[in-house]
Amino acid sequence: MLLLQVIVGGLLLGAIYALFSSGLTLIWGMMNFINFAHGEFVMLGMYVALLVVVWLGGGPATFGFAAAVALFVLGVIVYASLIRHVTRGPMLAQILSTFGLALLLRYTAFWIFSANIVSLPQTSLGGTLNILGILVPVAQLVAGVTAAVLTVAMHLFLTGTTIGSKLLAVAEDRNAAMLMGIRPDRMQALAWGLSAASAGIAGALMAISYPWSPSVGETFGLMAFVVVTFGGFGSVPGAMYAGLIIGLIQALSAFYFGPIYKDIVVYGLFVALLWFRPQGLLGKA
């Protein structure tokens, strides 16, 4: 029974990983650009949730929405002021741009919020459910299911709507998209907004059940790298499956080896992936 609980918990957290990793892989596939500050976007989402609760007394729906909007705006601003200018340039500039941004965001958060570990006060999602003998905290269940739904929604948005197709068109062939009247610049800004928003909501969802401090950004960022590599370059469905699997592996590692080793196993898996299957689950060789 305990094992099943661990599995369920791992999958629920994995769904949240899937959500923010989808955002990262969207940008990667579209612009061949890795956002080294993506983990910090998640971290900021968590703090937005905290501020909304503390200042406005809002519930999960409120702070989830707030995190989405706030990070969407941040994503667009980051694209317009920074990313757009470095994509045409040397690799050093590209990597340093978001790497520096990550530092900036992380240490500003340290400065504003200090290194203390915080958590949200009890929300309406307290309590534990007993499903077929498995004890699942309501908060985790809601967060995980919401994340899963949002990730699927993102995938459907990209593949099913007109504007989603335009985004994918720019990812596929920028010049061809331009000839079709699509504006790559606008689409890329939108993608950055979506990507950051996915990170923001994921953070808000995670804040419901887990405590955090500004240093979590570094861990989430690395987690996202592993998930997107495992899922395959630019593949949102891949990130979905990979997120769940990584969440599961992490939970099982914590269960069998101890909580200290859960991240070690995941990073070790990453190295193994690079050696033996860098294209991941759904990527092309």
Binding site: R106, V271, P278
Partner: protein
């Protein structure tokens, strides 16, 4: 040539001109930072393969001397070649799979492996776990390299820096160096000219790793202490990158220039802001890196070469 000699003389004279312990401290820190950044520069600057987890080599180089002392009472210096050997293995572990993929994989892998090692070391009792390791409090002989004052360290570090810069200069002039620059300038074109891209990148990483390891060893020997954060923390990597990039990544003296500017600046901000200073320093670092990336990725070296001609022209016109 004349410039190099002049520079050398300045550095040789420095500790005698500014013999205050405070200035000597800065000088030693500056030299160490210049060594680390110059080592990073070989793979990150010349070859354009941006490692953001170089602390893995630094940490290995820092831990080994204190490990051999702690467990087998050997002089710490014995750990230096062992550190280099392990760093070379790490370089191969990270570089071999990722250098056949695009650059992003390499950068991601460097962060992941560095963090992986930090976590492992912080739970491994043999390596001192979270507490870390200490070196000899008092030297048993000259071979323990535990000097009272900073002066001997200053000259050892200066010698190592000189060797590193000499090696880099030789690389720059050799086929290997040209191939590195070609890879940075255009991998596809380089390949079509017969450059063995993957192998060349790997050699650059290994050379860089070896010297970074030495830098770590020097740090541990001088400080007499190491722990997971001071060895494998991300800020160690950040400092290498920002110093090299600020001065001019891919140039011989860029990292040294970066160190000359940033280390005194860092000391100043740390002193002014006290405890909160470290936090602010890294906000500043983050900001500097973003500004560099956005406006002047070539660093001060590039900026100088852009601006200097205008001064010359002005003089002629007058």
């Amino acid at each position: 040539m004349k410039g190099t000699i002049a520079l050398g003389l300045v550095f040789l004279a420095y500790p005698f001109v500014l013999s205050n312990a405070f200035y000597l401290d800065i000088g030693v820190a500056l030299l160490l930072a210049a060594i680390s950044a110059s080592a990073w520069n070989i793979v990150g600057g010349y070859a354009g393969q941006v490692s953001v987890g170089h602390c893995m080599f630094f940490g290995v180089g820092a831990y080994l001397p204190l490990l051999v002392y702690q467990h087998w009472q050997l002089p710490p210096i014995v750990g230096v070649p062992v550190g280099i050997a392990i760093s070379l293995v790490l370089a191969i572990l990270v570089g071999m799979p990722t250098f056949r993929l695009t650059g992003h994989y390499f950068s991601m892998a460097t962060i992941a492996v560095a963090e992986l090692i930090r976590l492992v070391v912080s739970t491994w009792d043999f390596a001192g776990a979270a507490i870390g390791l200490q070196g000899p409090a008092v030297g048993r002989g000259w071979y323990d390299l535990t000097f009272r004052g900073e002066l001997p360290y200053y000259f050892i570090f200066l010698a190592v820096l000189a060797i590193l810069l000499f090696v880099t200069w030789q690389v720059q002039r050799s086929r290997f160096g040209y191939y590195l620059r070609a890879i940075k300038a255009g991998e596809r074109a380089a390949r079509s000219l017969g450059v063995p891209v993957r192998r060349t990148k790997l050699y650059a990483l290994m050379l860089s790793a070896a010297f970074t390891s030495v830098a770590g060893s020097l740090y541990a020997i001088k400080t007499g202490f190491i722990d997971p954060d001071s060895g494998f923390g991300i800020l160690v990597s950040v400092q290498m990158v920002i110093i090299a990039a600020l001065g001019g990544a891919g140039t011989l003296y860029g990292p040294l220039v970066g160190a000359i500017i940033l280390i005194p600046l860092q000391t100043a901000t740390n002193t002014w802001f006290g405890g909160g200073g470290t936090g602010l320093t890294y906000i500043l670092y983050g900001g500097i890196i973003v500004v560099l990336a956005r406006f002047e990725p070539g660093g001060l070296h590039e900026m100088w070469h852009r601006i200097a001609p205008r001064f010359m022209r002005g003089r002629d016109a007058a």
